[in-house]
């Protein structure tokens, strides 16, 4: 059975996105961690970098939690198959 080209394209794009997502998150994370330096950390209150870094860290933790949950689901599905 032939798979319609547009669906194949969609699948390929989805696969590509999932690969790029990791790199996107990683480099965006690096950018965020660099942010206090970009806006000149010295001129900000002492509390700013503290709250900023722990906020970014919490977001990373949330993403890891999501990835773990998604991974568990994938593995459960595979085992059920």
């Amino acid at each position: 059975m032939n798979i319609p080209d547009n669906k194949r394209l969609k699948k390929l794009l989805a696969a590509q996105k999932s690969v790029e997502a990791k790199y996107f998150i990683f480099f965006f994370g690096i950018f965020l961690l660099s942010w206090p330096f970009i806006i000149s950390i010295g001129s900000k209150p002492q509390s700013f970098p503290f709250y900023f870094y722990f906020f970014v860290w919490a977001v990373i933790l949330f993403l890891l939690l999501l990835a773990s949950h998604a991974g568990d689901k994938d593995e459960d599905n595979k085992e059920n198959d």
């Binding site: 798979i3 990791k22 690096i30 961690l33 206090p36 919490a58 933790l61 993403l63 890891l64």
Partner: protein
């Protein structure tokens, strides 16, 4: 301060409790209990990353360099995004090749090369031993401070330091080196490390809560006090790290979380189930957040109370002690002890394994008068771990006050960064070869020595200080901390230039030289470990059984007997034969002989490393001339059957792997299509059913209406 005798008694009690826990766990696990089989224990064991340097040093670093410390923990959390695929590969390879250490892994990937293994073991030894000194120093200093109330970078309590050191050595030997086989798990040790991770976290959190909510009115209050103190505010702002330094910390910590020998051991060798990796990542990330959240408040409170940043390392002990929270101070001391001893035990164990397998054993094999030592490998490891920890101790005593130990943590991180190209390339780039790995590791290590160790020696007064400012022989481009005139932070310069040389030589060396057939096979296996592609016949029992198993058994016995005692030799040999489901008196086929050689080599590799095991089996080959000819015939026949040359065969395999991937992809697409079609069919079916129900209903209604019309007509008539 706390009574010295009381601290000693409680410390001894603490060690005894750990011994008991370790012993009970080992016993229960051998009885079939699965206490370690959960991601929480795995994550807590990985928290060995947080050492005494983390525990005390973070506060010190925050007092002197503001938020720089956060890069050491947030870096690994960000890098965890890639861990799932990478760590899963490492764990699979470890199971398939009985890998015992990071040096063993690198050597196994690059054709089981003894040279690669020796370079990797040397890097680990030179890079990590000073780091061990740092841990000992932190433990000894905290003990001296809690018992005397006096803090100095050279604090030492002499004999008590030695007692603590001996307790650590005993622990590592009893739970880490009881057996020769280092590919086996150490459940007692893992559980103890996990418990110590809980202790250090609880102690740090308790100290943090005390400082933030008992000495101050929360986080906001501390920051408000700093804002109202112009002098402190100005100092803090002036101490903010440079961007290049922050990035260097970030990169180094990302590599250290997996390439430090103790991290590799806990993450790869001690992993009991691949499924633990994903949850462990967020648990570990959460652990890092919790253990660092109170660092800045403690550092700022110490500074606000008028203590200098130079005492920052001890603020976490000083503040509770100063404000009368004696038991909290002891708990903090215990947390620091837990952090330091965990790191020392596992690092000492892994370094001793690497040194014995890849540096000492090749020497024993080559020099005839040392040959008899092969039978005493376990004893040799006990001596080595004792020696390594004593070297670290002497290093701490002799150079404890100099510049060296202050930055030694990051220098160690930079040393293990040298493993990154060889390991990552080895996992994802099949073309990466032995020559490339040797050139990369050696050049990276040489540049590391020149840019990080050499300046440390100069600052310790061992060489003339002008080398740092004017370069050797007045050549400014060769200034160790600003190589080629790079005007960036010295640590950033180390990262940049070591990686430039290491990666550059690895890639160029691999591209310019060819891999041997064996290397190609291993490289393919490592890079495609998740795909389960096999090269050898699936059915080893096929073929004519003409080879005398007893004869082969004697050769294996002879090889094993060089390293094990008589009982172990007998047991391991029989295990090998049992693995191919064959009695020793029967004949075996050539395929079974191949299988037997693989199993025997792997069994030996788990004790002495892959490179040394391969050497041992090359010296005493299981295959005689006739069997070698048979083997050649088999491979020729395989190639002839396929009508292919070896090169074409390799291309064909690659083609089939790609085809397999494509088929899997198409299978997924088809499954999704079938799901969509099924859904569409179900919808259509439901529509038809609804229409059918409606149609039947209308028919009945019409019949009913006709009946009524008929009745009405009859009435009208």
């Amino acid at each position: 301060m706390i009574n010295q005798l009381l601290v000693i008694e409680l410390t001894v009690l603490y060690f005894i409790t750990l011994f008991v826990i370790g012993y009970v766990v080992e016993r229960k696990i051998s009885q079939g209990k699965k206490w370690l089989d959960n991601p929480l224990i795995y994550a807590l064991a990985l928290a060995i990353y947080c050492t005494a340097w983390t525990y005390y040093g973070n506060v010190g670093l925050a007092a002197s360099s503001s938020m720089l410390f956060v890069a050491v923990y947030i870096g690994p959390s960000l890098f965890f995004i890639f861990w799932w695929s990478m760590l899963r590969k490492l764990v699979r390879i470890r199971h398939e090749h009985n890998i015992t250490s990071i040096a063993d892994f690198i050597s196994a990937r690059y054709g089981k090369s003894t040279t690669v293994a020796a370079i990797a073991a040397t890097i680990a030894f030179i890079g990590v031993v000073p780091y061990l000194s740092l841990q000992l120093k932190a433990i000894f200093n905290s003990f001296a401070f809690i018992t005397s109330g006096y803090y100095s970078t050279s604090s030492s309590t002499g004999q008590i330091d030695l007692i603590i050191l001996i307790a650590i050595i005993l622990f590592a030997i009893v739970f880490g080196f009881r057996r020769l086989d280092q590919s086996e798990k150490h459940p007692g040790l893992v559980m103890v490390i996990a418990i110590q991770s809980i202790i250090k976290l609880v102690a740090f959190l308790a100290a943090g809560i005390f400082v933030v909510y008992f000495l101050n009115d929360g986080f906001g209050d501390i920051f408000a006090q700093v804002a109202a103190n112009p002098l402190l505010l100005e100092t803090q702002r002036a101490n903010n790290p440079t961007y290049s330094l922050f990035m260097a910390y970030l990169i180094l910590s990302m590599s250290a979380i997996i390439f430090l020998p103790r991290q590799f051991h806990m993450a790869v060798v001690e992993n009991t189930d691949e499924k633990h990796i994903r949850p462990a990542l967020w648990i570990l990330s959460l652990y890092f957040i919790l253990i660092t959240i109170f660092v800045v408040p403690i550092a700022l409170t110490g500074l606000l109370e008028g203590h200098g940043a130079a005492m920052g390392d001890i603020f976490i002990l000083l503040l509770p002690l100063k404000h009368g929270a004696i038991w909290l101070s002891f708990l903090v001391f215990l947390g620091g002890l837990a952090a330091g001893t965990s790191m020392i035990m596992i690092s000492g164990m892994t370094i001793a394994t690497m040194v014995s397998n890849h540096l000492v054993l090749p020497l024993i094999d080559k020099v005839k008068i040392f040959n008899s030592l092969r039978k005493h490998l376990l004893l040799l490891r006990w001596i080595l771990i004792t020696l390594i920890l004593f070297i670290a101790y002497v290093f701490e005593v002799k150079i404890g006050t100099s510049y060296m130990l202050i930055k030694i943590g990051m220098i160690s991180f930079a040393a293990v960064l040298q493993f990154a190209p060889a390991i990552i390339g080895g996992l994802y780039w099949p073309r990466g070869n032995k020559i490339g790995a040797i050139l990369g590791l050696a050049s990276g290590f040489a540049v590391w020595g020149y840019t990080s160790l050499f300046p440390a020696f100069i600052k310790s007064g061992w060489f003339t200080a002008s080398i740092l400012t004017d370069g050797p022989f007045g050549i400014r481009a060769l200034r160790p901390e600003h190589l080629f005139g790079a005007n960036i932070d010295p640590l950033a310069s180390i990262v940049l230039f070591t990686m430039l040389f290491n990666l550059g030589f690895y890639v160029i060396g691999s591209l310019l030289t060819e891999q041997s057939a064996e290397e190609k096979r291993i490289a393919y296996n490592f890079c495609n470990i998740l795909k389960k592609v096999k090269f050898v016949s699936e059915n080893p029992s096929s073929g004519e059984r003409l080879i005398d198993a007893q004869k082969k058994l004697k050769i294996i016995n002879l090889i094993f007997s060089k390293y094990f005692n008589a009982a172990d030799t007998e047991r391991l040999t029989n295990d090998c034969l049992a693995s191919i489901k064959q009695g020793s008196k029967e004949k075996i086929s050539i395929h079974q002989l191949i299988e037997l050689q693989n199993i025997a080599e792997k069994t030996l590799a788990s004790s002495i490393g892959a490179a040394a095991a391969m050497e041992a089996f090359i010296k005493n080959s299981l295959f005689d001339k006739t069997e070698n000819e048979q083997l050649t015939q088999i491979y020729s026949q395989m190639a002839a059957d396929l009508k292919l040359s070896p090169k074409e065969l390799s291309q064909k395999i690659n083609y089939y792997v790609e085809k397999d991937q494509l088929l899997r992809k198409q299978q997924d697409e088809l499954e999704s299509l079938v799901k969509n079609r099924t859904k569409e069919l179900e919808e259509t079916n439901a529509e038809l059913k609804r229409f059918n129900d409606l149609s039947i209903g209308r028919e009945l209604k019409m019949v009913e209406l006709k009946e009524r019309i008929r009745q009405l007509e009859s009435k009208t008539v």
